[in-house]
């Protein structure tokens, strides 16, 4: 359904679809059409010209009606192309599936056979097959199917390899399913789209190739016509009667173009990466459209290295544009560490990314607010200055550096690339700086690691490389978005140790995003707690962790297990956070809050100043903290 809709959005694919539909209808309806017998010869009326009486497209050298032959030939060519494609898809698909599923020697053997097939020049192989089997339409189709098997086998195997490693295949094994059943019910449905796309993009070529064999006299045998043999016949009289060759030539051309347009359209429609609501190339910086609200107002905190005011970033969804973060304000002093905590989807990453306009556009747009880094208005900067700001003033460490590191480049080269040389600084000096950085982030055996590729490192080592690259130009602000979430507890501890030391030794300001309040309380000076895209609480880290004011913050802290307290209750927060397009009016936490009253749902709730430099977005914080005390 949605595939068809996406197909319908592509004008070229639609044109292809229309062409193919017309040809298919003609081919299917051929026996019903008022056409003369395509094989009836009429020697008296040889090579009649276009528009001759009773012969719209004239006749060929035996006086046969070209239009009739063309339509019946089209019928034959289409049927042969479809049959060859189905055969190649069936055999190639099976080979690919079996190779991927059984792996080991089965895979080795099958793929070696496929390699052998592919080693021969394509048409030569087809010719050899036809030579061995004898000329004829069926054999030609068979030959074309055989030479196309490897494409299907390889494509399917590649995709299936990823699928057989998925846990749902293991789960099907545990469910007691047979291999055949697993292949048919778990693996095949997931490679089917690829199989369809491969078939759709190949069928045009296969028709062309079969026509080629027929042209050479190895396919359709007289008197039967297919587009290829008609081309061959027409070729012989091309000077005397060019229309005899031109008619099948045009039809083959248009048919193949139509099929390929449709195939490409289908591929794009089935490709999940095209599923986005807004298409268009990703932009190098988040779009800023600050409309009416304009920049944030109020005095700037000139001492702060980072000053964020009323930042709102919206995302386009199929149901319209909705803010993923709204009205986010905070400041960061030099050398200070700020932790951002919250459930996934609460807007931590969007906040972190928006600071350097790294939130993806499309679908993201910064719709209001202001970000100042060392006084520079980030949201108003041109692309050049923004690029220099990234890395020099503000640098990022992400959850899994494997996604940001170049898999084909050695580690040292990547670190060197991250360093912006000082004026007059030579390559040698830059490399010295790179190795100093690697030593600084505690990479053991820096010489070996310098020469390694990203996949050769452990998760912890890769994260150290990520930190080294972020530190390359001594940024004022280091933003780490869940840098330890993908690591096991021990490695996580060591990386946190590294961040703590960087803070001490370098005095860079740090923004540390995590869903673990405990970690943030240990590492950071201040905490910001986010819920449904808003800051709901802010304050000194240890104070907030020990005595949260906002009910959400309290529940979040209460549900984390703690070593040494095996009987802690771990009461889960009921329900789930709202999606960005289903945010309730009033307090976003109200549907899950034990303390919610009618007033909570009445209207927007502001972030209120509370004691000890704390801020909280809850109308009942006073009475609730009173209750607790």
């Amino acid at each position: 359904m949605s595939v068809l809709v996406r197909l319908a959005r592509q004008p070229f694919a639609l044109a292809g679809l229309a062409l193919v539909a017309v040809f298919a209808a003609l081919a299917l309806a051929a026996p019903l059409l008022p056409l003369p017998d395509p094989d009836a010869t009429e020697p008296a009326n040889r090579l009649a010209a276009l528009g001759a009486a009773g012969h719209l497209l004239g006749t060929d050298q035996l006086g046969r009606d070209v239009l009739a032959r063309l339509i019946f030939g089209l019928r034959v060519s289409l049927a042969v192309g479809v049959a060859a494609t189905l055969a190649a898809a069936l055999v190639g698909g099976t080979v690919g599936l079996v190779a991927a599923f059984y792996g080991r020697w089965v895979d080795g053997l099958l793929m070696r056979l496929v390699d052998v097939l592919m080693a021969f020049p394509y048409l030569l192989l087809a010719l050899a097959v036809v030579a061995a089997l004898g000329p004829g339409l069926t054999n030609a189709a068979l030959a074309i199917a055989i030479v196309n098997v490897p494409f299907f086998a390889r494509a399917v195997r590649g995709q299936a390899l990823g699928i057989v490693r998925q846990d749902y295949v293991a789960a099907a094994r545990l469910a007691g399913f047979s291999d055949l059943r697993i292949l048919l019910s778990e693996v095949l449905p997931n490679v089917a789209p690829l199989l369809i796309v491969t078939a759709a993009t190949t069928i045009g070529w296969m028709i062309l190739e079969t026509a080629g064999l027929s042209f050479l006299g190895l396919g359709a045998q007289p008197p039967q016509a297919d587009l290829g043999s008609m081309l061959g016949d027409g070729h012989k009289v091309v000077v005397a009667a060019p229309h005899v060759a031109a008619a099948p030539g045009v039809v083959v051309f248009v048919l193949v173009v139509g099929l390929n347009l449709l195939g490409d359209g289908l591929r794009d429609a089935l490709d999940p990466r095209m599923k986005g609501v807004e298409s268009g190339a990703p932009q190098p910086a988040t779009r800023v459209e600050r409309g009416m609200t304009g920049a944030g107002s109020g005095p700037n905190d000139s001492a702060a290295v980072l000053d964020v005011r009323a930042l709102t970033t919206a995302f386009a969804t199929p149901r319209g544009s909705f803010p993923a973060i709204r009205d986010v304000s905070f400041t960061l002093q030099a050398g200070e560490a700020l932790g951002i905590v919250g459930e996934s989807g609460s807007g931590k990453s969007v906040t972190a990314l928006s600071l350097a306009r790294l939130a993806p556009t499309p679908p993201g747009t910064i719709v209001s607010g202001e970000v100042r880094i060392g006084g520079a208005d980030v949201l108003g900067l041109g692309l050049d200055r923004l690029r220099r700001l990234r890395g020099d003033r503000i640098a990022y460490v992400f959850q899994d550096p494997l996604t940001t590191l170049n898999p084909l480049m050695r580690i040292e080269a990547q670190i060197v690339e991250a360093i912006r040389p000082a004026p007059g600084e030579g390559a040698k000096a830059v490399r010295t700086r790179a190795s100093a950085l690697m030593a600084d982030v505690g990479l053991p055996d820096p010489e070996r690691i310098a020469r390694a590729y990203p996949h050769e490192l452990s998760g912890g080592q890769r994260q150290r490389v990520g930190v080294a690259m972020a530190l390359a130009n001594a940024p004022d602000v280091l933003v780490a978005d869940e840098p330890t979430t993908a690591l096991d507890a021990t490695t996580q501890g060591r990386i946190l140790e590294l961040f703590a030391r960087i803070r001490r030794e370098r005095g860079a300001a740090l923004i540390f995003v995590s869903h673990d309040v405990g970690v943030v309380a240990c590492l950071c000076d201040r905490i910001v707690v986010m819920y449904a895209g808003e800051i709901v609480e802010e304050g000194p880290a240890r104070v907030v962790a020990a005595r949260p004011l906002h009910p959400y913050a309290a529940r979040l802290i209460a549900c984390a297990p703690r070593l040494g307290q095996p009987d802690k209750s771990l009461a889960p927060i009921p329900g789930a956070p709202p999606a960005i397009d289903a945010r309730p009016d009033g307090c976003a936490f109200a549907p899950r809050c034990d303390h919610a009253v009618a007033a909570c749902r009445a209207g927007p709730i502001g972030l209120e100043e509370a004691m000890e430099g704390r801020r909280v977005r809850c109308i009942r914080w006073r009475e609730l903290s009173g209750e607790a005390a």
């Binding site: 789960a171 545990l174 240990c522």
Partner: protein, 288 residues
């Protein structure tokens, strides 16, 4: 200051055997791994002799009825390999499994099915554990088809019962995985593991991919299952606090071997081995 790298500092002496505390269930083990070893790689087709990686090295592990056993260790210590061997998804290179005291030959389909009727698994990544093109109800029904041969009405009734048990509405069964959050999917994964009435559920890092708030929902469900009695759980995790909150007994693994083993609270409050101590310190340092 010494900068720890990512591999733990070598010990002066490799702990041998670890300790075995007699906190083990008194009755005979339901499932027992007997000196299992699993190697990966090595050999190869055309004489590409690379040394094999020994992921699990001579591990013996009894699991009693109704007991909750935690397996902890760093990533790469062999926890998942051991877990997959316990349900027959991987075959041991040496050693074997015994079910009710009887040795299993995991090369035989019949023995694998015998094991799988008793032992099921919950996977780490809830997104990859559900076929995206099947409804979650169909995924939950699979073990009832493959292992029990139940008819459709009986399966439907059981799915509804299981969905209620893991806190989801029965009509959710008709939806596809992409319509659920990670925590919901993990609960559906638990429903699937329970669907054919196993006695053992092996959970491989079932909450590591989840937020604390969602993790709490899954842990609450697991605590409920444990309290229900009758079910043995094997809970693999690198998070000591989570293991402590859930398990009776714990096994500490390092480089494929069992380093220490015993009653969970005893081991985590008074570890005997340096390595365990190191794990605990690492977990404590950044916990407020």
């Amino acid at each position: 200051m010494r900068l720890p790298g990512d591999s733990p500092p070598p010990h002066a002496e490799e702990p041998k055997g670890g300790r075995r505390v007699e906190a083990r269930a008194a009755s005979s083990p339901l499932l027992e791994a007997r000196a299992v070893t699993r190697r990966f790689g090595g050999g190869g087709w055309f004489g590409t002799k690379r040394p094999a990686l020994v992921a699990v090295d001579n591990v013996s592990l009894p699991l009693g009825p109704g007991e909750t056993l935690g397996i902890v260790g760093e990533s790469g210590s062999g926890k998942s390999t051991l877990a997959r061997m316990l349900v027959g998804l991987l075959q041991p290179s040496a050693g074997d499994l015994a079910l009710d005291g009887e040795a299993l030959d995991l090369g035989r389909g019949a023995d694998r099915r015998r094991l799988q009727r008793r032992a099921q698994m919950v996977f780490q990544d809830p997104a990859s554990a559900m076929n995206p093109r099947k409804t979650v109800g169909a995924s939950v029904e699979a073990p009832m088809i493959g292992l029990k041969g139940w008819d459709a009405p009986r399966r439907k009734a059981r799915v509804a019962e299981l969905f209620a048990r893991v806190g989801l509405a029965p009509e959710h069964a008709a939806r596809h995985p992409h319509e659920f959050s990670g925590g919901q999917l993990q609960r559906i994964g638990i429903a699937r593991a329970l669907s054919a009435d196993p006695r053992i559920v092996v959970l491989d890092e079932p909450v590591s991919a989840l937020d604390v708030s969602v993790q709490a929902q899954v842990l609450a469900l697991l605590r409920e299952l444990r309290a229900g009695g009758g079910l043995s759980l094997v809970f693999v995790s690198h998070d000591l606090a989570v293991v402590e909150a859930l398990c009776d007994r714990v096994v500490v693994m390092r480089r494929g071997r069992v380093v220490e083993e015993g009653a969970c609270r005893a081991v985590l409050s008074a570890p005997r081995e340096d390595y365990t101590r190191e794990l605990i310190q690492a977990a404590r340092r950044f916990a407020a």
